[in-house]
């Protein structure tokens, strides 16, 4: 997966680059509209991560230019603008997703992967981790080639873990991934706990390994033991 990250805040840009490179992705950067335009005209990217407030203009200009040359690049807007209208404008102009700052890497990663999957339908829509296999076309999950039935939330949860393996996922980040902005009413995070418990049980029942570990009782990590 080849990414172009357009972000003028140096610190944030570096973290983004490190994070995606760490995932093994090919990353390039641009810090203003001008150089970003140059890059999208010259090269092909799978994903464009786009900040809107850039020193020499609005990031939406880049999005418009990209759509004009008909490139099959997925676009995720990563903006500090929290207004619904900004979001709608971005999506109407052809962005695939919109994430507001501040954000969690796990969430960004999950969304980028999801855009990538939707865009590049090259037969490989499987997510595999040892004996666990997730088919994202049919929404089916196999453990040791045996199908297990998951609820919608359990499925989302497992997918989130598998996309973000080795990352520490806080309960808050998980809650936000599952319920979006509604986390405030899920006051204690017992709900996550019950979903995780069920997920674990279903995997273990068919002889799968429990790859989930808790970290100091504050978050979870999905990784080889």
């Amino acid at each position: 997966m080849k990414l172009l990250i357009v972000e003028d805040e140096k610190e944030l840009l570096n973290d983004l680059l490190d994070s995606f490179s760490g995932e093994g992705q090919l990353c390039e950067e641009a810090q203003d509209v001008c150089s970003a335009l140059e890059k999208i005209y010259l090269y092909e990217y799978d994903i464009l991560i786009l900040d809107l407030g850039l020193p020499d203009g609005n990031g939406l200009e880049i999005l418009q230019a990209l759509k004009k040359c008909n490139k099959n690049t997925g676009v995720l807007i990563l903006s500090a603008k929290v207004d619904l209208n900004d979001k709608l404008t971005g999506l109407n102009l052809g962005a695939d997703d919109y994430l507001t700052k501040p954000f969690d890497f796990a969430e960004l990663n999950a969304r980028v992967r999801s855009i990538f999957r939707r865009r590049k339908f090259e037969g490989n829509n499987l997510l595999t981790f040892n004996e666990i296999e997730m088919n994202m076309d049919s929404d089916e999950v196999y453990v040791n080639s045996q199908k297990i039935t998951l609820t919608r939330k359990e499925y989302q949860l497992l997918q989130y873990f598998m996309v973000n393996k080795k990352r520490l996922l806080t309960k808050e980040a998980i809650a936000e991934h599952l319920w979006g902005d509604d986390t405030s009413i899920y006051d204690s995070f017992d709900f996550i706990y019950s979903h995780i418990k069920n997920l674990r049980r279903k995997i273990i029942e068919v002889g799968g390994t429990d790859y989930l570990s808790t970290v100091y009782g504050m978050g979870y990590k999905f990784d080889l033991l």
């Binding site: 973290d15 501040p102 709900f191």
Partner: protein, 421 residues
């Protein structure tokens, strides 16, 4: 009271004062004139009578109802002429009538004559009444004329003033329209319009820069927050953190998220206050409620709440996003504070939506319920209900809170007549 009416009243009061003063002066003057006249008349009469007696006209011929002449036996009474006021009964009018009475005893020839002559005041009285009537007519005419005058003045002279007033009344801060004042050549109104123009343009400028400031500030705050969050993310992922350090980082992480949410909430609140959510539509609120209930299905069942719904069709003219936010905030609030295994009732009646949940009594004053940053627990931001209130205010929706028999109840009242305006 209209300024013009006030002016008219003052005019009338002054006119009344002058009319009364004039009336009194006229009365006194005429009264004096009439008195003198009466006196002269009586003295003349008496001279005529005396002459007639001298000319040997028998006194029987001289007597009539206004003059009585009698032969007096008492010579001692001869003397000065006496004038006095007296009342005499009038048979025709059946009442007492004031007269001036002249009384004198004269020695004519060898005889003494007692002469009494009377002069009625009735004419002079009528004369005075006539004067007062005239004055009253004048006053009434003045009243009518001033009222008509007032009507035309207010139509023409005051027209620019009322025009300006109307324009200010319909003006809404934040709307694109500028006020264009009517041209006038009245200096006061030119000055007024000029000042208003300056004032509004200054307010509009301040308002715009305030709006920009709030938006920019919130935007600018989100960016450093994003950096903090990003660094915290990295720290959390770094291996070999001690539990203690991890906890600290977790606290920073939570605080950052909280700050970001407060920031977003305040921005939303400011935008609603600034009326930046435009575009009204006919929103079917029962659909909004049902859609949201579906979204919250999971949490409702997880909290084991017994949901009772009674949904009738209800729609209101408002911005679709704000409708969604308003209902969603109230619904979340009800779910959040509902006792597990308790009741949750959502009712839509005619012009009313009721959100009702079983829960412990409030620890805060219900009066403060809709204020910013008032919260019952450490977790909430204390903005949800104030956002709801702001939205309600904008669309003339009344909101009320009650705690009845263990149930927290929020009621939205929709007054469609008000909302149309």
């Amino acid at each position: 009271m209209k300024l013009l009416y006030k002016a008219i009243i003052y005019y009338l009061l002054i006119s009344l004062l002058f009319l009364i003063a004039g009336g009194v002066i006229i009365y006194l003057k005429t009264d004096e004139l009439i008195n003198n006249d009466t006196k002269n008349y009586l003295i003349n009469r008496e001279e005529i009578v005396t002459t007639q007696i001298l000319n040997k006209i028998p006194i029987e011929y001289l007597n009539n109802y206004e003059q009585v002449i009698a032969v007096s036996k008492d010579p001692a009474e001869v003397g000065a002429l006496k004038l006095s006021d007296t009342l005499i009964y009038d048979i025709i009018d059946d009442k007492m009538i004031p007269y001036t009475h002249l009384n004198v005893v004269r020695e004519i020839g060898r005889n003494h004559y007692k002469i009494d002559i009377y002069k009625s005041h009735i004419e002079s009285k009528k004369f005075l009444v006539g004067i007062f009537k005239a004055l009253i007519y004048e006053f009434v005419v003045l009243l009518v004329v001033l009222s008509i005058f007032n009507f035309f003045i207010s139509r023409s002279l005051w027209f620019p003033f009322y025009d300006t007033l109307n324009k200010i009344r319909t003006y809404r801060l934040g709307s694109e329209k500028k006020i264009i004042y009517r041209k006038t050549n009245t200096r006061e109104f030119i000055e007024l319009n000029d000042l208003l123009q300056k004032m509004t343009s200054r307010i509009v400028n301040d308002y715009n820069s305030q709006k920009e400031f709030t938006e920019n500030a919130s935007h600018e705050i989100q960016t450093p927050l994003a950096i903090i969050n990003s660094k915290v993310n990295r720290l959390m992922e770094s291996a070999n953190l001690s539990e203690e350090n991890f906890k600290h980082i977790q606290s920073i992480y939570n605080a950052t998220r909280r700050l970001s949410k407060i920031n977003k909430g305040l921005l939303l609140l400011t935008k609603i206050e600034n009326k930046q959510y435009k575009g009204k539509k006919h929103i079917d609120l029962s659909q909004v409620v049902q859609g949201l209930l579906k979204e919250f299905e999971e949490i409702i069942s997880l909290k084991n709440l017994t949901l009772q719904t009674e949904i009738k069709s209800l729609s209101h003219q408002m911005n679709p996003d704000l409708a969604q936010i308003m209902i969603s905030n109230l619904l979340r609030n009800s779910i959040k504070y509902a006792l597990p295994h308790g009741f949750l009732k959502i009712k839509i009646e005619e012009k009313k939506i009721i959100f009702c949940n079983e829960g412990a009594p409030l620890s805060i004053d219900p009066e403060l319920m809709f204020d910013r940053f008032v919260k019952t627990d450490g977790q909430s931001l204390g903005l949800g209900l104030s956002i709801v209130k702001k939205i309600c205010d904008q669309y003339h929706i009344d909101i009320a809170y009650q705690y009845i028999k263990g149930f927290h109840t929020f009621i939205l009242y929709f007054n469609s007549e008000l909302a149309q305006n």
